[in-house]
Assembly symmetry: D2
Homo-oligomer: 290 residues x 4
């Protein structure tokens, strides 16, 4: 039997990155997923395991990071073309580059779009749960998957160090999370839609305004703001994954230092959970549904 190598290609899939352009008065962000695929004279690696022509997919990822730092980056079509043309040459006869873009809008604060705090387009859902029993009824409302991100205004310092601590302190990091919130009402005769709007607004505006010293502090202040905004709410529970963004050293690839590109990590992630209660508010009965 004689086998023949047919069409083939290789590349790096789903390079997730955030690009931050820091202007004096405001930041601009691009949240992208980039996939490369190269084809050409690659018989040797398939037939003999000879890698002499095989630019590592890791190098392709690095190139994606570097090109995303270009100023201006342009539209995603520009980025895809620039990258594609970069890869063509030598053994590479054809390069395909796919760029996917996730949408973010500025969080409005006092009616003005915030300079560096953003809320994601996404599958956010409003949720309500009633627990009913002969002795009474209770309502817990909230929301799931509210994505928020600050490109500055967040630090993490002063933490203890044990033998397993390798993390450096930082006074300026990207802070990103997906808020899952539940608030328990102490009353049932109220304007649910207005309460939801007030609570959601308090979450967003607090996230945007507060200079964050830790995600725990941000969580607590967001919970407190919900209580302040809605007198009928007795308790707020928040669960907020810390969506880590790691700065990429694009200066190593010849870029000016202020070209900021961050790798967006999937797992693991910090997970911060906490409850904020109104002093003197009635306790939740056991067995209500959160």
């Amino acid at each position: 039997m004689s086998a023949v190598l047919g069409e083939n290609r290789y590349g790096k899939a789903e390079v997730r990155l955030l690009r931050v352009r820091r202007h004096a008065d405001r930041h601009e962000i691009e949240d992208l997923s980039v996939t490369t695929a190269l084809s050409g004279d690659f018989a040797d690696v398939h037939l003999r395991g000879d890698n002499a022509a095989v630019l590592p997919t890791d190098s392709q990822k690095n190139a994606v990071h570097a090109f995303a730092a270009d100023e201006p980056m342009g539209e995603i079509e520009d980025l895809a073309l620039r990258l594609g043309r970069h890869f063509v040459g030598g053994p590479v006869h054809r390069a395909r580059v796919r760029v996917e873009r996730f949408g973010w809008a500025r969080i409005p604060v006092d009616g003005v779009p915030h300079p560096h705090a953003f809320v994601g387009d996404g599958p956010e859902r409003r949720v309500a749960t009633a627990t009913c029993a002969p002795e009474g009824a209770w309502v817990v409302s909230g929301l799931d998957d509210l994505a928020v991100l600050k490109s500055t205004g967040s630090e993490f310092r002063g933490f203890p160090r044990d033998r397993y601590t390798t993390l450096a302190e930082t006074d300026d990091r990207v802070l990103a999370t997906t808020v899952h919130a539940r608030w328990r009402f102490a009353a049932l005769d109220l304007d649910w839609a207005a309460a939801f709007a007030a609570a959601r607004h308090a979450l967003l505006e607090t996230f945007a305004r507060l200079h964050s010293r830790s995600l725990q502090q941000t969580l607590y202040e967001m919970g407190r703001a919900v209580l302040a905004a809605c007198p009928q709410i007795a308790e707020v529970r928040l669960s907020m994954p810390n969506r880590h963004h790691f700065a990429v050293d694009v200066a190593a690839f010849g870029h000016a230092e202020d070209a900021q590109v961050f790798a967006v990590a999937d797992r693991p992630y910090g997970l911060i959970e906490g409850t904020v209660r109104r002093e003197g508010a009635p306790e939740a009965p056991a067995g209500i549904e959160w």
Copy 2:
């Protein structure tokens, strides 16, 4: 050994429904997922398989459909409370009802919100792919997961019937899909952002305006509108699942006929795919990436 029954509950999870309220001048929709959980005196069914106290989860689903048809339905908190109170009594000592709400906005047509065409909040993404080679470069752009829905203005009639055909003809159905679109450019020197905005607008407005006789017709007209809106686009490919909504007979549960509730199906779904090309436009080279 002696075993003891501990906490337990049962119910129907993720009852997906669309509620349509038809006013003379416009429709209002609510897109919900409802989960019920009942607990109480249910030892007999666990210990002896005696179902005398076990209201079927199917009946709970039907009650969800019926209560969603109430006028007014109120906020999701109202619906959850009404359902929860309905279930409590007899063996049921505690009912928990969770309602999740998916957001939709009216599609603007000529700057005016459309009376019965909607675009979903969701994880829509803009996409661009460049294919580069020594002999040239090509760009395909588009979008994924753009959810749209019309609560009227769609019919499906006149189709052939074979021995496996049981579907009834309809002159008024819910039409819902998630648009996946790709458009191939015949040029590279253009305003990518403006082209994207024009193409997306053409997709939405055509979906909203056109009285649909079939999803194929809608697909074709949406593709044609993109070509008309963007002279640099040579070809449009569309893939549109038919997200089936089945009318629930809430009249059987004592509701007036015009209370319209639809069950939202997951699978299977119709899948309509098609290409619309500009006459005389250059062909796509083999091997470009869609």
Copy 3:
């Protein structure tokens, strides 16, 4: 501008079905997902909304159900070919049929493969959680996503009927669930691997052996069997979705009655949750992790 219709096709995607062949001594099952796609002379429906050539995707789904009932069904390649050839003709010039098959193995009982109880290939995971505090430590172990199915030996009768009840009683149904189990140990000095094996075996064998009068009864007996098998386990918590299988009336399509095909539903689903405790076992401290 002149637009031209390019390649196009349509069909029904992800028709999920279970086929059961009932022999005297044992059942055979096939768990499939089928997708059809037809292409040919379909310009009229795209250009003018004329459906005269458009066999509904609903009819395609019905044909899938009917052909899956053929005796013998053959391998999935045979089914795909038979369906594809059926659709070709008239306006249909090309039919593509994709069949995906999910694997199931017979549950062994007393070392013998069970005649009608099955365990699914799948992403089952073993799980353990320790909660540690100065005053002590507790371990909860278990498993997630253990898929099991019985093609007979399950009934559901004798339930109450309210105004929303439309469900018929049944003395023979498919019972399918995905087991999520957690068991709390009252000790820490034991053979964890042996305990896991014994508990998993007890879950499977009880599911297979017990004639089920309700999923609650099955849940309770499965929990009891875990307690009986592992003296160090104090408490078992089970969460079991009722994966509904609805019998398809393939007799209406000319098939003999004993050709059994079931539509596999995604949502909604019954959700049964319960706890079984060992009498006299120590209580779980508040705050341990399940």
Copy 4:
């Protein structure tokens, strides 16, 4: 208004790791996902943003890596307990550690379990697609999501280096992928089940046997083995993501060097796609479905 901090906890979720224990004659692997959650005296960080008590979740992740390298690691219950007890103390009053374990079996080669090549438990599916037309019919079969992993027997060296290349050469790495395979038959009158079994066996055994110099080489040899095993197969298409495993420097945490722990990455991943054809076999007609 006065707000009070309620229950709270924090930790690192979903630390994905592979542990490899290298014995002279065979390797043993554990594929785990670990989640930590700490609670205790953490009011200061919530109320004042004071991190003095907040051991970073990054350090918790590092501890997970270090403890997974313990010899013996024990069962997942042992690991969870050891980690939980490690975290308790000082401000931490309660530590919860959840460990999830993914199953792998040794690939049999010549009927003998392989010393360092494994196949994952998982949602592998067999797939067949028929394309039918008046002029003929074609069948493509295959499988999706067949997870395989080698803990040694894989190198990657001799690749070109550009300005974006930072990857080091390696002569011993973990090679893991999820095989998506399609094979096109040149005939229709054959034993489909036997062909599937032979093709799947060829894929697995080749992956296990071959010392890999690149994933492309492995892909090509796997395709060639399928052709050799099944004379009716004309062409094989393979898509294989390179599931990267990055060695963790547990020696930095005081562990002996041969304790091997790898971080399992989600994204990005290399994606290798290729076709292997039988020389002289008939071409696939345009438009058949893969």
